[in-house]
């Protein structure tokens, strides 16, 4: 039948969107939204600890690893009387340029303190370049642990922690603590907390399944 095969696909899909699997695929966006996949990568937030301290220590590892070179970080000395973050150093400047970010999450993976994570917020449209560069004050979560809504962001029905927090899962042992080696953990986000491992990602599978790429490189250096 030659080219008519192609039309068959079109017609099938046309009806399919309504009846194929019994669910509709096209929704009336933006009034209606579809649930986001668990590992969806949206815009970043800079997290805080429960006591309000910033997690970012200004180490620039995220900026160093970013393949799109879109993060600019500078550290500074914490004022011992009024520290911003635990320890000596805090992130003094933090900027992400969303005209360049490819949402690869390598920055999240590199961060030693789980300071930078990605939400699933993705609906933002700017009218100028400087709005596209999110500064530290824009990225930092509020005292309640929720991201701040910026004027050009569309949040639908508001921020739903279950729906909009990070789908990121840490592949390396947290804090270099040997007893966590191989333990799967979601990043802790204020306002949402941590999640339990997804199915199929138990400790046993982690250690004896070597094809599970990226999840086995924490056998080194986990304790020094």
């Amino acid at each position: 039948m030659g080219y008519l095969d192609g039309f068959a696909v079109t017609f099938r899909k046309w009806f399919g969107t309504r009846s194929d699997t019994g669910r509709r695929i096209t929704v009336q966006y933006p009034e209606e939204t579809r649930p986001k996949p668990p590992r969806f990568h949206g815009r970043h937030v800079l997290n805080r600890y429960e006591d309000g301290m910033e997690k970012c220590i200004g180490c620039e590892l995220c900026a160093g690893v970013c393949p799109a070179r879109c993060i600019y970080v500078r550290g500074a000395d914490n004022d011992p009387e009024d520290p911003r973050s635990p320890g000596e150093r805090y992130g003094f400047v933090y900027e992400i340029n969303y005209l360049r970010c490819i949402h690869c999450d390598l920055c999240v993976e590199a961060c030693p303190t789980e300071a930078i994570t990605e939400t699933k917020l993705f609906e933002f449209a700017f009218t100028n370049r400087s709005d596209a560069i999110y500064t530290k004050s824009e990225l930092l979560v509020g005292d309640d642990g929720r991201p701040q809504q910026l004027p050009w962001e569309h949040w639908g029905d508001g921020f739903d922690p279950a729906e909009d927090t990070s789908g990121w899962m840490r592949a390396t042992a947290p804090s270099g603590d040997a007893s966590f080696e191989g333990v799967v953990a979601w990043s802790g986000e204020l306002g949402y907390g941590v999640r339990s491992p997804e199915g199929g990602q138990t400790l046993e599978q982690e250690t004896d399944d070597d094809h599970d790429d990226g999840h086995h490189d924490d056998h080194h250096g986990a304790g020094h």
Partner: protein
């Protein structure tokens, strides 16, 4: 690690086996170096090629077999010997390296993300390359307060320290500031200072550079960037005239750090803290960023470059050439100095050009046969040191001289007005009365002295010093500088003339400012043409330039005197501040009052700049391209790393543009072309063309044969007034000058001013340390606390130039050979 292996000449070869290969190495050199040179790099932490090995860290263990079977030995402690068999990668070696690293990391904190060293850390790198990959340590680590300030510039984090002994060895062995030590025992061993006695060394920044971990961090760089942000270029420090090789490191067009490069003939990787940290001034808010011109209401208003340049060209072009003068240029590059010499002498036609401000040495010192630093420090040699305290003015030269005296059997005879940092390392020393240096030099050459001594120096001291010179093995070298701003520089020339009688003598002119030698060689001195030629003997420059001055001009003090008489209508200040630095404040004031048009090309609004009619903003170190000549005559490249602020330009670009506006046809309009034009016309600069400099990492020496040294008319010997003390006005490294005063971390480090007097004079006056004293001269007086010192001879008062809260240069007058002051109880 980043240290270059020390260059070695294989004169006594022995054959050893390294990892199965037969290689030829120098007998007795350290195995760790021999292996590195033969492509078998051995990891190390404590070994540093410029310090004595101590075998502290055991990272360099290798298997060495000297006939009694292989055994693990630290390769940094083993001299090579014939037929050694060395294994650097065997299983036993790898196991030993694993063990050493596991132990080093046992108590090491996981600070990498917040540690300044992270990313360029030998401990990180070697753990990755040679480490066990995994730690078995689960116990709590050792904890200390972190970080602690061991000096205003250096912070210490004891948790990160791996006790390699590099910083402590540096402090006691390389410098003489043994202020940091290991304290406590066992796993509680830590580096620390004695309470209340900070590590205030002029060289403290070096410990930050050599620390193999991030235990020592420098406040100016702390947390400013990570190593992977930094862009680097190799350049030369121009803060003083030693000309240490450095890397300029910047990020986002801002200079952030300077590190030393191991240039074997010069700085051996060391830097002084002024050279290391004064770059902060380039980031200063005070920088001049746009041209200024004095408006109708008498204030300086920003104008466009074209307007400012037109005004300058007009002031230069309309004046009678003999009423135009240029002061300064010793902080510029060779090319800028040449461009200004060519503009002043070859376009405008004036010879009133002086790179210094009467506070340096006359250009004639460069006509003396020259010696390099290496020649001065030749093992077993004898050095006559006539000059300022080297630690205060030429810090890294001090390190070289100290090393030479302590380790290379160099005998130093010190001829200085007070004791210096070199005194403990000198074989003999005499303290001539200011103004009478030449008589002492003559006595030293003659080897004998009248029974009642010469110039305040006893006959015994003179004979002892002369005996050291007499016992010299080979010709004596003289370090010749100006120790005392209150003494006429003619005195130094007279002494040089006397010392020239020593057989085979050669001189190292210890000038202070970064590029005095380069500026003078480029023609920025009265009576001189580029390349060292004389005006009267025109070395062919009339063929290159459109004009050559016919009359020999005045030097800086002469220019100021002429200006005060109203004979100068246009005065160009090329990074010069006569109001602060000329050794006659009253004269400088009168001169600037009477000059018609003052043009200042500078980076900062100095007092003299604020008096100018046109101000042009200048690019400074780290922003200009070109070359510089150090005190030995070594020409090396300075490279730009960051863009100058605002519209500031390099000095040479201003000169070239002014020449064009004055109608000159001058083809050299780039640094390269200026350099090559300068070299083409100067036989003594042969070998220093742009291409040749680019190819030479450690610089190229100019011809040092010298010739035609003319000391001029000897200075009269000043009368001794027994009611007065004779003034010694010297400089200190940390002053409130343009650079350090504007560097955030360095400002405020200068000492509180004092008046130094001898123990005898203190007894006579009945004063002790701290008693307020009035120092009264003909031109003014100041009240300062007394400092009683055994290093100051009787009859001498010692003051320091440019410290906060004292301005002793106001006491001086240009026409006096020495300055007498009355010192009384306040």
């Amino acid at each position: 690690m980043s240290e270059r292996p020390r260059p070695i000449e294989v004169t006594d070869p022995v054959t050893i086996t390294v990892d199965g290969r037969q290689v030829e190495v120098q007998r007795g050199e350290l195995l760790i170096d021999a292996c590195e040179r033969n492509d078998a790099y051995i990891p190390r932490f404590c070994y540093h090629p410029r310090m004595e090995p101590v075998g502290m860290c055991r990272m360099c263990l290798v298997e060495v077999d000297t006939g009694r079977g292989p055994a693990l030995q630290p390769s940094c402690m083993i001299p090579t010997a014939p037929d050694m068999v060395v294994e650097t990668t065997s299983e036993r070696v790898t196991k030993a390296q694993d063990g050493v690293l596991e132990f080093l990391l046992a108590n090491h904190p996981l600070d990498c993300p917040v540690c300044d060293k992270g990313g360029e850390c030998p401990l990180q790198d070697q753990t990755m390359a040679y480490g066990p990959g995994e730690s078995r340590w689960v116990e709590e680590k050792r904890h200390y307060e972190k970080p602690i300030e061991i000096s205003p510039l250096v912070l210490l984090d004891r948790e990160r320290c791996i006790l390699c002994d590099r910083c402590t060895r540096f402090a006691s062995e390389v410098t003489d500031d043994p202020l940091i030590h290991f304290i406590n025992r066992g796993s509680n061993t830590e580096v620390n200072t004695f309470p209340g006695d900070p590590f205030s060394s002029y060289f403290s920044g070096n410990t930050v550079q050599i620390c193999p971990v991030g235990a020592l961090t420098a406040t100016p760089y702390r947390f400013r960037a990570r190593p992977w942000d930094l862009e680097r270029t190799e350049s030369t420090c121009t803060v003083c005239s030693v000309g240490c090789r450095v890397t300029l490191e910047s990020s986002r067009d801002r200079m952030l750090r300077i590190n030393g490069v191991d240039a074997d003939p010069v700085n051996w990787s060391w830097l002084c803290d002024a050279g290391r940290f004064a770059f902060e001034a380039t980031n200063s808010e005070d920088r001049l960023t746009e041209p200024l011109r004095r408006g109708a209401d008498g204030s300086l208003e920003p104008v466009r470059w074209s307007e400012a340049l037109a005004a300058v060209a007009d002031a230069l072009g309309s004046a009678d050439p003999s009423s135009v003068a240029v002061l300064g240029g010793s902080r510029s590059t060779d090319e800028s100095a040449y461009a200004w010499a060519a503009l002043a002498k070859g376009v405008v036609g004036t010879d009133h050009v002086d790179a210094q401000l009467g506070d340096g040495l006359p250009a004639a010192v460069f006509d003396l046969p020259g010696a390099t630093i290496d020649e001065v420090c030749r093992p077993g040699g004898t050095v006559l040191y006539v000059g300022p305290d080297p630690k205060e003015e030429l810090p890294v030269l001090f390190l070289r001289l100290k090393h030479a005296a302590q380790r290379d059997r160099v005998r130093i005879v010190e001829v200085t007005p007070t004791s210096t940092s070199l005194t403990p390392y000198s074989a003999a020393g005499v303290r001539p009365r200011p103004g009478e240096l030449a008589a002492v030099a003559e006595a030293l050459v003659a080897g004998d002295a009248p029974a009642d001594g010469v110039a305040g120096v006893s006959a015994d001291d003179l004979r002892a010093a002369a005996a050291v010179l007499g016992a010299a093995d080979g010709p004596v070298t003289v370090v010749l500088g100006r120790a005392n701003l209150a003494e006429s520089p003619q005195v130094v020339l007279d002494a040089a003339a006397a010392l020239s009688a020593l057989p085979g003598v050669r001189f190292l002119p210890a000038v202070r400012r970064g590029n005095v030698r380069g500026a003078v060689t480029a023609g920025m001195a009265p009576g001189r043409l580029p390349g060292g030629g004389r005006l009267d003997g025109d070395a062919g420059w009339s063929g290159v330039w459109s004009t050559v001055p016919t009359e020999v001009g005045a030097d800086a003090m002469g220019i100021l005197a002429a200006a005060a008489d109203g004979a100068i209508s246009t005065l160009v200040l090329l990074g010069a501040d006569p109001l602060r630095d000329a050794p006659d404040r009253a004269l400088a004031e009168r001169a600037l009052d009477r000059v018609g048009t003052i043009v200042a090309i500078d980076s900062f609004p100095t007092p003299s700049v604020l008096r100018a009619d046109v101000v042009l903003p200048a690019a400074m170190l780290g922003e200009v391209d070109g070359s510089t000549t150090n005190l030995e005559g070594r020409v090396s490249r300075v490279r730009p790393k960051v863009t100058p602020p605002g519209t500031a330009r390099a000095d040479w670009a201003v000169a070239v543009e002014l020449a064009r506006r004055l109608g000159a046809t001058w083809s050299a309009t780039s640094v390269e072309a200026l350099r090559d034009e300068l070299v083409a016309g100067s036989p003594r600069l042969a070998g220093t063309t742009w291409a040749e400099l680019e190819a030479a990492d450690d610089g190229v020496l100019v011809d040092l044969t010298g010739g035609g040294f003319d000391p001029g008319t000897p200075a009269p010997v000043p009368q001794v007034d027994s009611y007065s003390l004779r003034l010694v006005l010297s400089r200190e490294l940390y002053d409130e000058g343009e650079l350090l005063g504007r560097s955030e971390s360095m400002a405020g480090l200068s000492r509180t001013p004092t008046v130094g007097i001898s123990v005898g004079d203190a007894e006579r006056l009945g004063v002790e340390d701290g008693t307020p004293l009035v120092v009264r001269g003909e031109r003014g007086s100041s009240t300062l606390p007394a400092r009683v010192s055994a290093g100051i001879p009787r009859g001498t008062a010692h003051l320091v130039h440019r410290l906060e809260g004292s301005d002793p240069i106001t006491l001086l007058s240009a026409d006096e050979v020495a300055c007498d002051v009355r010192v009384e109880l306040a």
